[in-house]
């Protein structure tokens, strides 16, 4: 498990994050972070990465009979749950539609009642990305790596950024 996702990278990327009543608000978003947010729904898609598919729908038991029943009856429900969470997030993210110029200093408002969907979709995205790039435990605890360099570095940055958002949402819904 990851202890926490430090927001140390905020030194170089701007945004403000707070709760206002029944809304979680991410404001002063720079275009780069706004784009990473917009990539959450597509990042939850495990297609083309068998390892990611296996991670999202992991085996429930060693017994083959239980696994077969699970695949028939439980897995479709899990797929619906994950898809629904991703669709809720995608709908919230339409606030960020626009070109790069219009994304400058944009604010994203997330209704608190969507918090569970966001936690779920962020977790899906983090697991899929981590499986695709096969990050080691050491890499997953490296919160200082620059996103600029390779697609893999960007993937690690995405995992950390999404983890930071999870931490924020968790803190706000439990307070």
């Amino acid at each position: 498990m990851v202890i926490s996702c430090s927001p140390r990278w905020r030194k170089s990327f701007d945004m403000e994050i707070c709760r206002q009543g029944d809304t979680l608000q991410i404001s002063d978003l720079d275009p780069f972070l706004a784009e990473l947010l917009r990539q959450i729904p597509q990042s939850t898609n495990p297609e083309g990465a068998p390892g990611a598919e296996a991670r999202l729908f992991s085996r429930p038991a060693a017994e083959k009979k239980i696994c077969a029943e699970w695949k028939s009856y439980v897995e479709p429900e899990l797929r619906r749950l994950f898809r629904s969470a991703s669709e809720t997030v995608a709908a919230d993210l339409t606030q960020l539609n626009g070109n790069e110029k219009s994304l400058r200093n944009r604010t994203l408002r997330i209704p608190v009642e969507h918090a569970d969907a966001w936690l779920n979709a962020l977790n899906q995205a983090r697991l899929v990305i981590a499986t695709k790039y096969n990050f080691s435990d050491e890499e997953l605890n490296d919160h200082d790596r620059s996103p600029i360099g390779s697609r893999r570095d960007l993937g690690l940055f995405q995992i950390n950024f999404y983890g930071f958002l999870q931490e924020f949402i968790l803190r706000e819904i439990s307070s």
Partner: protein, 109 residues
């Protein structure tokens, strides 16, 4: 099958009642349900705070107990969260998978 006997109830009247007979039924003894356990395994991606929240929500554990299990998963690689009948154990595992935790159902041997 039950035997029938005639019983004198009142003078001049007879009626038949069924005499209870112990029925002997051969039934295969059902196998007693062996207890199952719900095990959560370590995962390098899930946040510790997230895992703690999931344990609180799924099992209704207080925060302190949820944290003990979370730390056991983190340090030992697995923790037994619950044990009992198979049906509720499956339900718990399903919920844990809904939160994307690595959880399995294991028969206690």
């Amino acid at each position: 099958m039950s035997a029938v006997s005639a019983v004198q109830l009142e003078k001049g009247s007879t009626s038949t009642v069924e005499t209870p007979v112990r029925e002997t039924e051969t039934r295969e003894e059902e196998e007693l349900d062996v207890p199952w356990q719900v095990v959560v395994h370590n995962d390098p991606v899930n946040l510790m705070s997230y895992v703690t929240m999931v344990f609180q929500r799924v099992f209704g554990y207080p925060r302190e107990k949820a944290e003990v299990h979370m730390l056991e998963v983190h340090h030992k690689g697995r923790s037994i969260l619950w044990s009992g009948a198979r049906e509720p154990a499956e339900f718990y595992v399903q919920q844990l998978h809904g939160y994307l935790l690595l959880a399995t159902l294991e028969k206690i041997v």
